[in-house]
């Protein structure tokens, strides 16, 4: 009988969970080193102001204070500014002006976190307030106050893609053209564990160890080395258990640099953990896109061309986390699931007095904004044509026999069957019946809406010829070592933050080598021990590191074949692999198990073959993967309160082959809740002076169990043809796909009243105001 190995396709419970459910996880703030000091910051109350003076004398004299650090102290070290991921630079601590509210102004290093905060409050800063700009459209107006004197302009960059002339021609000749402005609000990732750092410089060895809540430890090490001149072997980045990341922990924040400087200065470990409020007010934002979308179509509903213009808000520094060649990420997936002849996208970015970031919040580099744009536009077109939105989508989907498909903006979609996913979702939710119910409800004056979103993602960055960050190619890695008893340690260049890599990566190796997952330990997040990789974000871990695990395991299998041939005294080609063993063709009773082979690799290797059984793979994916799905949402609107209640939500996802269906479902659930938060609850709001009005968990309302709906999930499976085992990645599909489904449903409920669009978040007051304006309620 085959032993149970829990390979690909098993919903095995997670290997990492025992430590978390017993309180034994080791997150950054749980780490306490001997002699540790603590940082606290004086922060700017103004969004834009000149610094006239900083007086640190009182703070310095306070009990427990070891040092106070200002921008002027960092200047001689050439560290008052640091490079961003996007070819800009960012203040670590300011010298003469602040550019967003709550920006770090000066740091206190003290023996105890309470004392550090006391002293930070005693730092006296004299400011001269300047006019603040919080709207990128205003920032680009002539005569707007300049935020970055070093740049001399508020314009960050202009970027375009596609064929402008062809699109213009099609728009001129089309039967129908629709146009809509959308604002995709600024939101905050709000992982449950705030960001933090512990820097530990060892004066004796010269080694700088930095514990950091980071999703990408290896590139961080390289950047730290390049900035400081410390050789990479003397820098160790440790990313311990991470309490959620979702893109927000890719960034290197100013306090990390200050902590490192403080540790070098004092020779002691220095810790800083953001409070939640500091985290929301200063760490990376997402979205903040002002979008104008247009579609050209024939009167029968066949779409022809799409044109999109965006004004992007970058905050005070261009810190967007994107691959080098894509300043606006993969927004060019905006043609979605549809067969467009031509497309054109142009984006202008602006500096504003808001914190920088521009991170891919649970999405592959601006894919969320793109999916929202196309899926809203399709609904608006359907409404204009008086066509059912499902019918319009079915009419325009890229047919399943056209894959691989070259999109109008140049991507080669690997595989897809969009019609199958939508039809399945329609069947599950009983679409035809719902439309009938809606018609009857409308007659009675009740408000019910149905929203569809048939999204396509582009994930798994990415092929080396196209994708790099700071010049480093976006491969990812796996190193597998099989020890004499057949036990495995596998290390990766990625870093999970809740995705369950310790389980799913073990399942991949188990599947390839026939070794039960109990005998496989997965390690990530330590640059001293793990192979180099670009990290975990943009749904890239399974397409890159997961693929690396399969390929490395196959390399091991090749060596195992040589050892088995030696042990069985047959030729290599006479052996057949069956999960967990090689046997002699035609004589299945003659075999060697992977355990026996592993033992022999150290005790009895074939003559001429080196001992050991290990392999490493730096996997360069041949293409991106293109997960997709169709979501349908049903809402009922309470007229008196304006509350839109999600009655039912069906999510059919196609992420190719699923490694652990239970974990996949968990990922989809979580991303749906985030999409729900985006659609209904969350927005970072600034007043005209640049004050953040939503800077803590009282005012920035992420969903609780009470508001969050339940989900009906299902799947279609269209394997990726180029991935070693057909997987595509799933962590972000639902944050990408769901916001349009929610908004489409709410707008659909009000469409007969002439409502074409409502910007997220769909606060009850917005709906209530519309109903009042339309005379539906008093």
């Amino acid at each position: 009988m085959q032993k149970v190995i829990h390979g690909i396709g098993h919903s095995v419970k997670r290997k990492e969970d025992p430590r978390f459910i017993t309180g034994n996880g080791r997150y950054l703030d749980d780490i306490k080193l001997p002699g540790m000091l603590y940082l606290a910051f004086a922060r700017s109350p103004y969004a834009h102001a000149k610094i006239k003076s900083i007086n640190v004398e009182k703070a310095k004299a306070m009990p427990g204070v070891v040092a106070v650090i200002t921008g002027k102290d960092l200047q001689p070290l050439n560290l008052a500014w640091m490079p961003t991921l996007a070819n800009d630079k960012q203040m670590v601590l300011p010298i003469d002006k602040v550019v967003y509210q709550s920006q770090e102004v000066a740091a206190v290093v003290a023996e105890d976190p309470y004392l550090a905060k006391d002293a930070a409050e005693a730092i006296e800063v004299e400011y001269e307030p300047l006019p603040a700009i919080t709207d990128p459209r205003k920032a680009l107006e002539k005569g707007a106050p300049i935020i970055r004197e070093d740049k001399g302009t508020n314009h960050v960059l202009h970027w375009e893609a596609g064929n402008k002339e062809e699109v213009e021609k099609i728009f001129k000749e089309a039967d129908i053209v629709i146009k809509q402005e959308f604002y995709y609000p600024r939101i905050h990732v709000s992982y449950m564990e705030p960001c933090g750092v512990i820097a530990h410089y060892d004066k004796i060895t010269g080694k700088l160890t930095i514990y950091m809540t980071t999703q990408a430890p290896h590139p961080v090490r390289t950047v730290v080395s390049l900035i400081t001149g410390i050789p990479e072997n003397n820098i160790r980045i440790i990313s311990p258990d991470i309490g959620g990341g979702f893109g927000g922990k890719v960034y290197v924040y100013p306090p990390y640099v200050v902590a490192a400087v403080a540790s070098v200065l004092t020779g002691r470990p220095v810790k800083y953990v953001f409070s939640r409020s500091e985290d929301i007010q200063t760490t990376a934002f997402a979205r903040d896109f002002y979008i104008t979308g247009e579609l050209a179509a024939k009167k029968d509903g066949k779409v022809l061309a799409i044109r999109v213009k965006v004004i992007a808000d970058h905050g005070a520094f261009q810190g967007d986390a994107n691959p080098s060649k894509f300043p606006y990420g993969l927004f060019t997936i905006v043609t979605g699931a549809y067969d467009f002849k031509a497309a054109f996208v142009e984006i202008d970015g602006a500096y504003t007095n808001k914190p920088p970031g521009g991170i891919a919040y649970r999405c592959s580099f601006r894919v969320t904004e793109a999916a929202y744009t196309i899926e809203r536009l399709m609904d608006i077109l359907a409404h204009e044509l008086k066509m059912d939105p499902a019918e319009l989508r079915l009419k325009n989907f890229i047919p399943s026999n056209k894959f691989p498909y070259r999109s109008a903006l140049g991507w080669e979609y690997d595989s897809g069957n969009y019609e199958a996913a939508l039809r399945k979702a329609m069947e599950l939710i009983n679409y035809e019946e719902l439309r009938k119910e809606q018609e009857e409800k409308r007659k009675k004056g009740e408000l019910m809406g149905i929203g569809i979103s048939s999204f396509v993602e582009i994930v798994g960055a990415g092929p080396s010829h196209t994708f790099d960050i700071l010049g480093i190619k976006m491969f990812d890695s796996c190193e597998i070592r099989i020890h004499p008893t057949g036990a495995v340690i596998a290390r990766f260049g990625t870093r999970a933050q809740g995705q369950g890599h310790e389980t799913t990566f073990a399942q991949i190796i188990a599947d390839e080598l026939g070794i039960p997952i109990e005998k496989i330990t997965v390690e990530e997040g330590d640059t001293d021990t793990c192979p180099y990789g670009l990290g975990t974000y943009a749904s890239r871990s399974t397409p890159t590191a997961g693929a690396a695990a399969a390929v490395a395991a196959r390399k091991i299998k090749e060596k195992a074949r040589k050892i088995a041939a030696h042990l069985l005294e047959v030729r290599e080609e006479d052996l057949e692999w069956e999960r967990g063993r090689f046997y002699v063709k035609g004589s299945p009773s003659k075999f060697k198990t992977i355990d026996e082979i592993a033992f022999a690799a150290y005790t009895n290797p074939p003559p001429g073959l080196e001992a050991g059984l290990e392999a490493v793979e730096y996997y360069n994916p041949p293409n991106m993967t293109f997960p997709f799905g169709s979501y349908i949402c049903v809402v009922d609107i309470d007229k008196q309160t304006g509350i839109a209640k999600v009655r039912k939500f069906v999510a059919v996802d196609d992420c190719g082959v699923r490694i652990n269906p239970l974990i996949v479902e968990g990922q989809i659930h979580g991303a749906l809740a985030m999409g729900f938060g985006t659609a209904f609850l969350e927005q970072i709001i600034y007043d005209e002076n640049g004050n953040n009005l939503t800077g803590n968990f009282n005012d920035y309302t992420i969903p609780t169990a009470v508001e969050t709906p339940k989900w009906i999930t299902d799947e279609t499976v269209t394997p990726s043809p180029h991935h070693p085992f057909g997987a595509k990645g799933v962590g972000e599909s639902a944050t990408v796909g769901s916001p349009a489904a929610f908004v489409n449903a709410v707008v659909d409920a009000l469409a007969h009243l002439g409502v074409k669009h409502i910007d997220m978040p769909l606060y009850p007051w917005k709906i209530h105001r519309i109903l009042k304006d339309k005379g539906i309620i008093k």
Binding site: F20, G23, N24, R26, Y114, E193, Q497, H669, I702, A705
Partner: protein
């Protein structure tokens, strides 16, 4: 700052310490006692990651001072498993995939512990209300609710066996 002497029972063991009056209970638990399973996720008492049981009641330990725990009995996530056996709630969270990053998990489990004692046979709506002061950003709550429902079943069958 002058310190106050406090004495309390933590996970069944007597503990004594001298603490500053302003020290938050959560910092006492984490930094003085070294019980780091109780987490800090916010500074406005919204997130519930710091939830512990104080004299039988679920409390957010960031909203109390350590001195307020003087003379009381405290149970943290570390005290839940007995003799190497997971508590049924822990078991249920594991089996039903009620956690992802694990950061909110101890607080969720402690709230569930208090809630299931009050209401051993809850409806889904009651569960959702009970954990409304505990935020989770990973799971979308569905599997947490399922875990708590399953834990209720496990605890009832355990009661029956007694």
């Amino acid at each position: 700052m002058p310190k106050h002497h406090i004495s309390l029972v933590v996970n069944g063991k007597k503990v004594e310490a001298d603490v500053e009056p302003r020290m938050l209970l959560v910092h006492f638990i984490r930094d003085v006692l070294g019980l780091t399973g109780t987490h800090v996720g916010c500074d406005t008492t919204n997130c519930g990651a710091c939830t512990v049981i104080l004299d039988g009641k679920a409390v957010k330990s960031c909203s109390l001072f350590a001195v307020q725990a003087d003379g009381k009995e405290l149970l943290t996530i570390e005290g839940l498993a007995k003799d190497g056996q997971l508590h049924p709630i822990q078991q249920a969270f594991w089996e039903k995939h009620g956690l992802q990053c694990g950061y909110c998990t101890p607080g969720m489990i402690m709230t569930s512990y208090w809630f299931l004692r009050k209401n051993p046979n809850p409806t889904e709506e009651e569960i959702r209300n009970a954990i409304s002061g505990n935020l989770c950003r990973c799971t979308g709550y569905v599997k947490i609710v399922e875990a708590i429902q399953y834990a209720a079943k496990l605890m009832q069958s355990k009661e029956l066996k007694k």
